[in-house]
């Protein structure tokens, strides 16, 4: 490991300080550690080293060495190598470390390397609060990278190939969504569930599109899942007293109409009749729709004909 690390540090120092792209040949005879005997051994070693650096986030660029575009060489632009220092205080680093330790992504947590890059933080004993945000960071990270660099994303969704411009990434009801218009229909932003996307690949070109400045991921996502406020209907429900408080806490804009020792009558807003009926059925026979009749009929239809 020692020799690998020394060689890679030499390579990185070299690529950060060359002003013009360096060819593989030049690297082989200039950078200490590339004394492999055969061309093949050198090529393998050099490829592995580049992969190692890229896995850490080091942006190694491949460019033509001259205007005639005959040869290509490598370099690292110092302003691409690092992000501007966010200027965190030790207290802020510690807060981030604690949050990163508490939150998992499908069982995975954020690598310690991320905190090291920001200047490290003293180890902390874990708090009592933990969370799992479901999807693992691999594909989410790719999508987030595409979003920050404004690159298009190609993927398969409901069995068809798509190309989209990622505007936003959001978590709602425990699921991750990518908000993006498809390139052949830019006026319509769609919500794609990340766990149903497959064959994801990120486009080569950065800054490939402009995101409307007014775009708001949270608002867009809630308009998708709740529906339009103006399309809501009001339903009057009688909840049995033992589940009433829990049911009301889960409802959208509940207004209590009456209450006695056996039940509570509440008006609530209904955006999606189907989802509402499924939710009501979760309370078994402890919740009854009093009005409107259409919702009662929908619920009874879901139960099928009585035998």
């Amino acid at each position: 490991m020692q020799k690998v690390l020394e060689r890679v540090l030499n390579l990185l120092a070299f690529l950060l300080t060359v002003n013009t792209p360096a060819t593989a040949e030049e690297i082989r005879y200039t950078v200490k550690g590339y004394d492999q005997s055969s061309d093949e051994a050198f090529r393998r070693t050099f490829e592995r080293d580049k992969d190692l650096l890229r896995s850490l986030g080091v942006p190694i660029e491949l460019r033509h060495t001259d205007a005639w575009e005959v040869e290509v060489g490598y370099l690292i632009a110092p302003n691409q190598y690092a992000i501007p220092d966010p200027g965190l205080t030790d207290e802020e680093r510690t807060a981030l470390l604690l949050a990163a330790q508490a939150v998992r992504f499908g069982g995975q947590s954020t690598e310690a390397a991320a905190i090291f890059k920001l200047g490290g933080a003293s180890p902390q004993s874990a708090g009592s609060l933990t969370a799992d945000l479901g999807h693992d960071l691999g594909m989410l990270g790719d999508l987030f990278g595409a979003l920050t660099d404004r690159r298009t994303v190609s993927f398969t969704y409901t069995s068809s190939p798509r190309v989209a411009e990622p505007y936003g990434l959001g978590l709602r009801f425990g699921n991750w969504y990518l908000l993006a218009p498809e390139t052949d229909q830019r006026s319509t932003v769609k919500a794609f569930r990340v766990d149903r996307m497959s064959n994801v690949s990120v486009g080569e070109v950065a800054k490939a599109f402009a995101r409307p400045t007014s775009f708001d991921t949270g608002e867009t996502l809630s308009s998708f899942s709740l529906g339009n406020e103006s399309e809501a209907t009001t339903a009057r429900i009688r909840f049995d007293i033992d589940i009433a408080d829990v049911a009301i806490a889960q409802s959208t804009s509940p207004k209590e109409r009456s209450r006695d020792e056996r039940s509570v009558v509440v008006d609530i807003s209904v955006f999606s009749p189907d989802r509402f009926v499924a939710w009501m059925l979760g309370f078994d026979d402890k919740a009854v729709i009093e009005s409107p009749k259409e919702l009662v009929d929908l619920l009874l239809a879901r139960l099928g004909n009585s035998p």
Binding site: M1, Q2, V4, L5, N10, A13, L16, L56, G57, Q80, Y81, A82, I83, P86, L88, A95, A99, A100, V103, E111, A113, F116, K117, L118, G119, G120, A121, P123, S128, L129, D132, G134, L137, G141, D142, F144, T148, G168, L169, G170, L171, R172, F173, G174, N175, D195, R211, D216, T217, G218, L221, D242, I243, V246, L281, D284, V296, L303, G304, S306
Partner: protein, 310 residues
């Protein structure tokens, strides 16, 4: 040689160097703690490695100069390593999402709020509102967390998810967990005399008791998973493509069929749990097998219909 370990070691070296360059003469014990080294020797080993690297020529003028004294260390001739490598996209998202989870749930100290603001600006300067988190959090989460942290027993009124029945329980809470869109309280339930997990939006009310409990050793903090038992009832059914969430949400065996349908096999301790799910699915579930559950479904349907006949 494991390449993962090489990567980890290299990435730490590339973070330690900028820190030392910026904080000339910084203390060794601070570095050890800050960058999670095992001990002083572990750190010195990395610094000795840096010592023999540098720029072509590789003579005294080109090699990186590391000066280690008893307590402190400084590095020179390595200006090109004066900044840390940019965060990878998964690292940046991991940190931001972790921070935002706490912020959205109202559980973040001010230092986390400012850290996430600074980091967002550094990672996505033209961010606008690109990342959104909906972490609906009942007020009780904050209060229950305080009870957990002060080891105080809470008495909760709980409306069971499986039976919709209301019970009063004394709980020694050991963690609060967010998963699949819901918050959970995990702890030792005195009524059940066992570890239990409670969905917080089903806790109708609670009070914190005066009594403190000694912290218990728990195996898994905040793991919300149903463990099937031998006495469970089994049921199988086919879901249509719009109901794939069933296999994602419930701990079931799912077999993929043609056209996106799935054959689900589910084990439940209470047939009512499966019955309720099947009623909620309506026509989206078909070919139900398992007589105990089928009876429970008919039973429950009848009870609901009766309410509308009255």
């Amino acid at each position: 040689m494991s390449s993962d370990r090489t990567a980890l070691r290299l990435s730490r070296i590339l973070s330690v160097l900028p820190w030392i360059i910026e904080h000339d003469g910084c203390e060794i014990h601070d570095l050890v703690e800050r960058f999670d080294y095992r001990d002083r020797a572990d750190l010195i080993k990395d610094l000795h490695l840096v010592f023999v690297t540098g720029l072509p020529g590789y003579g005294p003028g080109e090699l990186i100069d590391v000066d280690i004294s008893d307590d402190d260390v400084s590095v020179s001739a390595a200006e090109y390593f004066s900044q840390a490598v940019r965060l990878t996209a998964p690292e940046a998202l991991g940190l931001l999402a972790s921070g935002l989870t706490f912020i959205e749930s109202g559980q973040a100290p001010p230092s986390l709020v400012s850290a996430v603001e600074k980091l967002t600006l550094a990672v996505i300067p033209d961010a606008g509102s690109t990342v959104s988190f909906d972490v609906p959090t009942p007020h009780s989460v904050e209060e229950l967390r305080r009870s957990v942290e002060s080891h105080r027993v809470v008495r909760i009124v709980y409306v069971s998810i499986s039976t919709n029945e209301r019970t009063v329980r004394e709980v020694e809470g050991h963690s609060i967990h967010f998963n699949l869109g819901n918050w959970y309280l995990a702890g030792y339930c005195r009524r059940a005399a066992a570890e239990r997990v409670f969905r917080i939006d089903r806790i109708a009310s609670f009070i914190e008791l005066e009594e403190e409990f000694p912290p218990r050793k728990t195996e898994h903090l905040g793991v919300v998973r149903y463990r099937p038992a031998v006495s469970d009832t089994h049921v199988s059914f086919t879901t249509d493509p719009s109901s794939r969430w069933v296999s994602e949400y419930y701990p079931v065996d799912a077999e993929d069929l043609e056209n996106g349908s799935q054959r689900i096999t589910m084990s439940v301790s209470d047939p009512l749990v499966a019955a309720r799910l099947l009623i909620q699915l309506g026509d989206n579930a078909s070919d139900i097998e398992g007589s105990v559950v089928v009876t429970a479904v008919e039973d429950l349907k009848q009870r609901i219909r009766d309410r509308y006949r009255a």
